[in-house]
Symmetry: C2
Subunit: 503 residues, 2 copies
Amino acid sequence: MDSLKFSPELQENSPNTINPLNLEEFRRQGHIMIDFIADYYQDIEKYPVLSNVEPGYLRKCLPDSAPHCPEQIETILQDVQKHIIPGITHWQSPNHFAYLPAGISTAGFLGEMLISGFNIVGFSWVASPAATELESIVMDWLGQMLKLPSSFLFSGNGGGVIQATTCEAILCTIVAARDQMLSKIGREKIGKLVVYASDQTHSSLEKATKIAGIHPENFRSIKTTESTSFALSPEALKMAISKDIEDGLIPLFLCATIGTTGINAVDPLGPLCNIAKEHGIWVHVDAAQAGSACICPEFRHFLNGIECVDSFSLNAHKWLFTNLDCCCLWLINPSALTKSLTTSPEYLSNKASESKKVVDYKDWQISLSRRFRAIKLWLVLRSYGVANLRNFQRSHVTMAKSFEALVRGDKRFEVVVPRNFAMVCFRMVPSAFGAGVELDSANKLNQKLMELVNASGKVYMTHSMIGEIFVIRCAIGVTLTEEKHAIRAWKVVQETANTILQM
Amino acid sequence: MDSLKFSPELQENSPNTINPLNLEEFRRQGHIMIDFIADYYQDIEKYPVLSNVEPGYLRKCLPDSAPHCPEQIETILQDVQKHIIPGITHWQSPNHFAYLPAGISTAGFLGEMLISGFNIVGFSWVASPAATELESIVMDWLGQMLKLPSSFLFSGNGGGVIQATTCEAILCTIVAARDQMLSKIGREKIGKLVVYASDQTHSSLEKATKIAGIHPENFRSIKTTESTSFALSPEALKMAISKDIEDGLIPLFLCATIGTTGINAVDPLGPLCNIAKEHGIWVHVDAAQAGSACICPEFRHFLNGIECVDSFSLNAHKWLFTNLDCCCLWLINPSALTKSLTTSPEYLSNKASESKKVVDYKDWQISLSRRFRAIKLWLVLRSYGVANLRNFQRSHVTMAKSFEALVRGDKRFEVVVPRNFAMVCFRMVPSAFGAGVELDSANKLNQKLMELVNASGKVYMTHSMIGEIFVIRCAIGVTLTEEKHAIRAWKVVQETANTILQM
């Protein structure tokens, strides 16, 4: 076959031609990388949690174009150490209390290695039966751990799918709800459909609504108040729906949240569903962060009413020790989803799909290609077991309680909303800054306090607004965080407060 | 702080409590896993490429619920070997010629380890500056390697983003085009918008169109014929547009493809753009598989006309040795995208974003969360260098040429469409099955041939329809595939043909 080799003039000279999957090199480099990452975790507290680089720093460090010739992994890792790590915000630092913690584990990491090692593309059953079947099994397992009604499990004619993110999960369910409704009332009425949620709901809902082609003016962000601890009020929902119906609009979709991003508020599922179901509204529950904790019996009550909703999602990559990404979505009626999302191109046709005896997950998601995420979640559940997973979550809640008690013990501070899970929303009270300090100034000073805390590099926290009040959020849930880190975080806040008061 | 620990009655007994990120265990288990995966590659040819399990096989092997107590990694890996690997279709087998090859590399695998190890969530610049900046840099690097016009690079006021899949990339661009158009003509006209593509275009376009709320009847799948080698004909496009305008509809979006999934057809960008641009149509180019090969000067001509399009995407996880997932999307006018996809919740507000000096990639994609995919692509480009990457691709094309020559050398067979890259579409000619055999029977016999080839476990190929003709596709591009595998694949086809002819 030599004559068929590509013409020698095309073959480019390279000083050392490398087989991209040489197995000896794979082993050697793989072992180097394991140690590199373990060393990173070992040293992680040495780095400022929030990176302090300036915009554009990296272009100054790297060449303008890709190299023509191969470079050694040792050289590349030196660059990672020298140029990348200083520019990373260390989400796995035990002192990271910002946003929503992205808790990982050894098992989650090993699961990602298997995903990437097998590198299968399990869009349909036949493209890798084990990937599809393990996903169905593991979604049933997790559903049972959460004591979901059997109608959400494959065994009860519902079913679950692993997607990348809540945004994807919500978009898919909105599209399913939209098409189900439009098939009854006519496609031309798309401009009449209305989506409801509280003003604490994650921004991904509004984005998904827009992507799905629903009129942006028909997104109802219903105001919440302190009187309901910033949960969506069924009364307020009822009024919004009535007004829309009067105006000739068509209620479509409600997203309720268990543990909102800003302040961990919990919407009351049962009463909201009672109203929604009167109007044929699809109810989705977004429990991205807090949902995982509902595997603990003492938190399960937050899911009361779940038996009335259409779909439910949580991110195992937030508080179930699973490395990014792993969003678990369950539906009572998966066929509503697959009706909207099924494609059947000839090049994917196969007898297993035609037999209708198998699940083809491509029809449960936006994309065709999909990673074998189920094996990661399976490794996490097996490696730690339900009892341990609960205990890890409880330890985070305990740390949050510690932090909360410390805040309450300092009269200059207050806890602004009740703590439901492992996040504490606090601020310095206006009077601490001096007599007659108004809300606006207090907000600015609290922001200043947070910025100084973060600039120290010792701790990273982010903020939220509760009505007009600026609050600092201490969100606990990183795997490496221990009680001592939570306590030290509080000391950093206190010391920074002292500095501010002396300014 | 002892009094704040969670009540002892909540602490669940587990025989061996495990810290989910114990560093000694991380190292030990990580090294075990590297060897497990290397062993898998070493043994990969022992497994049937296409799994031969029956639907439902896995539920019979696994327990009904997650374990209460931890299990050892050694036990879990035994189960992977015993229960999962037999149910996997081996996409990394050198004998996998099905669908589109998902070529990986050691560097791609190491990149995934870093992504998962750092586990940062770089939705905005501040959430991890290095993740954002490396992505912009590496997208400029790859853009230069493809000789994209500078208008697609950040240096030329365009820019690139890494998404998970082509489906996501196309959905984002359709939404951007839709909102740009509707802002001019009014949102109520969403039902009038029309999307165009050839009938060879990937199914993800039709799906994205539906998800974006465009009327399903307004998706034009324009018939292709042999006369244009199944490329979209500019004449046919022109006619379709004219008819829609006459009918009061509004042309919105054209997706042209470089290397269609079914048969690797190439749409003529220049002539198509000439027509599309007359009507203000957004042109996207999907070069999912074949686009990567355009880093070779001898293939670059397939991108001629790219300077006239609005957006362009390819999957580095197909033919650029990057483990799943890594879809690269470039745009001339990223602000059209960010206008549609920007969200600004208070809990993400920060000074860097307000300064407008940074890219916040959350506004370039559907989801908020995102993995640090740029570091994977960076490792691939550096570890192999441009010269080697080209040579690897050329070696696949050479193997395809070998396979093609072998098909042409057997008079019972024909190559049905011209080969553009590394995929050969072939079939047994009807007369080989006997005098008077018609197309329908020939199709069924070719399907039978393919099924028997796949059932052998030695090779896995899939099919496509070219007009009314069933063709078998031999798609070359798996990293472990060598010339000998391509030749042996052909021998398996020939031997199976002999068997069929003797039946």
